[in-house]
C-alpha cells in the first residue's frame, strides 16, 4: 500500500503516520505540503516508471497550488500512470461538498481531521478494489 498525503499542515501528516503505524505494517507514505510538490513528483518520476500510489489524501486550502488546482493538473498525468489512485479530499474548506465530489478522480470528500476508522475504511475498500 502506497499513500500520498498532500496537506500544508504538518500535524496532519504526523497524524496520518500515527494512524498508519497502528493500522498496518509495510506501508509507504509520501508527504507533500502543497499540490505543486505532488504534481512535480508525478512528473519527475513518470519517466522512471515508478509505482503510482494507491491512495491520495488531498487537502483543499494550501499555498502555492491548492487541491482543486492539483486535481486539474493531475488530469494531465493520470492517463500516464500505471494505476489510477483513489483520491480522497480531506478538508476544513467551506467549499460546496457536491462541487468537490464532482471533480474528476475524486472518490470521496471528508471533513478534516479524519479519524482512524475512516482511514481504515478507505484502505480496506482500496484493497478490495485491487
Amino acid at each position: 500500500m502506497k499513500l500520498f498525503t498532500i496537506d500544508d499542515d504538518e500535524l496532519i501528516h504526523k497524524l496520518y503516520g500515527l494512524y498508519l503505524n497502528e493500522l498496518m505494517s509495510g506501508y509507504e507514505m509520501e508527504s507533500f505540503f502543497n499540490g505543486y510538490d505532488a504534481i512535480k513528483y508525478f512528473e519527475d518520476y513518470l519517466s522512471a516508471n515508478f509505482n503510482s500510489p494507491d491512495l491520495i489524501l488531498l487537502d483543499i486550502n494550501m499555498p502555492i497550488m491548492d487541491g482543486v488546482e492539483f486535481l486539474k493538473e493531475f488530469e494531465k498525468v493520470a492517463p500516464l500512470l500505471s494505476k489510477v489512485p483513489s483520491i480522497f479530499i480531506v478538508t476544513s474548506s467551506l467549499q460546496d461538498e457536491d462541487y468537490l465530489k464532482s471533480l474528476n478522480y475524486v472518490t470521496g470528500v471528508f471533513n478534516k481531521p479524519i479519524l482512524k476508522h475512516t482511514l481504515k475504511d478507505m484502505i480496506f475498500n482500496q484493497m478490495q478494489y485491487d
Partner: protein, 395 residues
C-alpha cells in the same frame, strides 16, 4: 423701475434654497403625466392658453411641465428675465394683469418677443418653507383671475409639491433598499469568512486531540499547542464582537477631526508611561469615523501590546495628503521579514514564534475594512527599531 431693481436675495438663504431644490432631484428630468395633468387642469380652470410648472435654479427658470404653446424652443429661460423669480419672493399669488402697463415688465423680452400680457403664479413651497418654483398660468391678452380660480391654482400648486415629496420619499426608499441589499451581501461574506476562520483552528484542535490519543509520549506538547489555538479562538471571538458592535451601527459620514479622534482614543485606552505624539495639524474629514477609529485602535493597541521595551513611543500622523495616507509608528521589536504580509492573515502557523501572541483578528479586521473601500495597508519595519504601519484612506 427696471428689471434690475428686483431685490437681490440673501445669498446664504439662496444657497440653502438651491440645496433643497437639488434634494428633489427633479431638475432636467423628463416630462411626467402627473405633472402635465396638473398644468392642463390649471389652464382649463384659469382659462389660459399656457400653464407651467417651473423650478428656479441658480441661473435659469426650468420647466418641469409645459401646457400650451410657449413659443420657446427650450424648456428653460434665463432666471433673470422670468416672472417666477419675482413670484417666489412673495407668499401668495403673484399676478400681473397687464404686463404692458407695468414698468417693471413692459420691456422684458418675454413680453416684447413672446407677447405675454398676463401672468399669475403661486410659489411651490416645500415643507421646509423653501420656494422651489411656481405653478403659473400665462396668457397673451390682459386678464384677471376670479377668487375661485385663484383658490384652485393654490390647491393645484400644493398638490405639485405633494408629488415632489412623494417622488423624493420613493427615491429615498429605493436607495435605502439598495444599501440594505449591499449590507446584506457584505454581512453574508463576512459571516462566511468568520465561519471559515473559526473552523480552521477548530480543525487544528481536533487534529491535536487525535494526535494526543495516538501519541501519548508527546501529549504535553500537543496540549500546549491546543491551548494556544483555544486562546487564539477566544481572541478572535472578542475581536469579532468588537467589530460587529461597531459594524452594526449605521455608518454615517460625519465631520471629524482625526487629531481629536486619536486623542480621545488614547484617553480611552488609558495607558500611562507611553510617549505619544500626534501633530496639531491632523486633517478634518467627512467620513465614517467609526471605521477610522477601529483602524487606529487596532494599530495603536498592537503597538502598545507588542512594545516590550522599557520606554514605548508611539507616533501617529499623516505621511501624504493626496492620496491621504496615515501612519502609526512605534519603537517596538519590529516584524521579521520572513513574516511579511502574513501578519495580516487571521490565523497563521502557531509554530512560528512571532505569531505566538499574534495580532489575531485585529490586523485582519483592519485590512478587511480597508480592502472594502479599495485602500491599501503596508508596513516598514526594522528589527529592534520599530514598525511603522501606513494606510490609505479614501473619503
Amino acid at each position: 423701475m427696471s428689471l434690475y431693481s428686483i431685490p437681490i436675495e440673501d445669498s446664504e438663504k439662496e444657497a440653502e434654497r438651491i440645496k433643497e431644490l437639488d434634494s428633489y432631484q427633479i431638475l432636467d428630468t423628463l416630462p411626467e403625466n402627473k405633472y402635465d395633468d396638473i398644468t392642463r387642469l390649471a389652464s382649463y380652470i384659469c382659462g389660459t392658453d399656457v400653464s407651467l410648472i417651473t423650478l428656479l435654479d441658480s441661473e435659469r427658470n426650468w420647466y418641469k411641465s409645459i401646457k400650451g404653446e410657449t413659443g420657446l424652443t427650450s424648456r428653460e429661460i434665463p432666471r433673470d428675465i422670468s416672472f417666477c423669480k419675482v413670484a417666489i419672493q412673495g407668499d401668495g399669488l403673484y399676478e400681473i394683469k397687464d404686463t404692458l402697463k407695468e414698468d417693471q415688465w413692459k420691456d422684458n423680452p418675454i413680453v416684447t418677443e413672446q407677447n405675454v400680457r398676463y401672468y399669475a403664479g403661486y410659489p411651490l413651497v416645500s415643507p421646509n418653507g423653501f420656494k422651489l418654483g411656481t405653478l403659473c398660468v400665462v396668457e397673451r391678452r390682459p386678464m384677471a383671475l376670479n377668487q375661485s380660480q385663484k383658490e384652485a391654482l393654490r390647491t393645484l400648486a400644493n398638490s405639485v409639491v405633494s408629488h415632489f415629496e412623494l417622488d423624493k420619499s420613493r427615491e429615498i426608499v429605493r436607495k435605502k433598499n439598495k444599501d440594505l441589499a449591499e449590507v446584506n451581501a457584505r454581512l453574508y461574506q463576512f459571516a462566511k469568512m468568520i465561519a471559515h476562520d473559526l473552523k480552521s483552528p477548530l480543525q487544528s484542535i481536533k487534529s491535536l486531540y487525535e494526535l494526543m490519543r495516538h501519541d501519548e509520549e508527546n501529549a504535553q506538547q500537543y496540549k500546549e499547542k491546543m491551548l494556544a489555538y483555544l486562546d487564539r479562538m477566544g481572541q478572535m471571538i472578542d475581536g469579532l464582537l468588537a467589530f460587529s458592535r461597531n459594524n452594526l451601527k449605521s455608518l454615517k459620514k460625519e465631520e471629524i477631526s482625526t487629531g481629536n479622534l486619536i486623542k480621545s482614543l488614547m484617553e480611552r485606552l488609558n495607558v500611562r508611561e507611553i510617549s505619544f505624539t500626534v501633530p496639531e495639524d491632523m486633517p478634518t474629514l467627512k467620513t465614517e469615523s467609526v471605521l477610522l477609529e477601529i483602524i487606529f485602535q487596532n494599530l495603536i493597541s498592537n503597538s502598545i501590546k507588542y512594545c516590550n521595551c522599557e520606554f514605548t513611543t508611539i507616533e501617529v500622523g499623516v505621511s501624504s495628503h493626496d492620496p491621504l495616507i496615515f501612519f502609526v509608528k512605534d519603537n517596538g521589536p519590529g516584524i521579521s521579514p520572513e513574516v511579511g504580509d502574513r501578519i495580516f492573515d487571521p490565523f497563521e502557523r502557531l509554530e512560528n514564534a512571532e505569531f505566538k501572541d499574534g495580532n489575531g483578528i485585529g490586523l485582519y479586521t483592519v485590512r478587511t475594512i480597508l480592502m472594502q473601500r479599495g485602500c491599501d495597508i503596508w508596513f516598514e519595519s526594522e528589527p529592534n527599531q520599530g514598525t511603522t504601519f501606513f494606510f490609505e484612506w479614501k473619503i
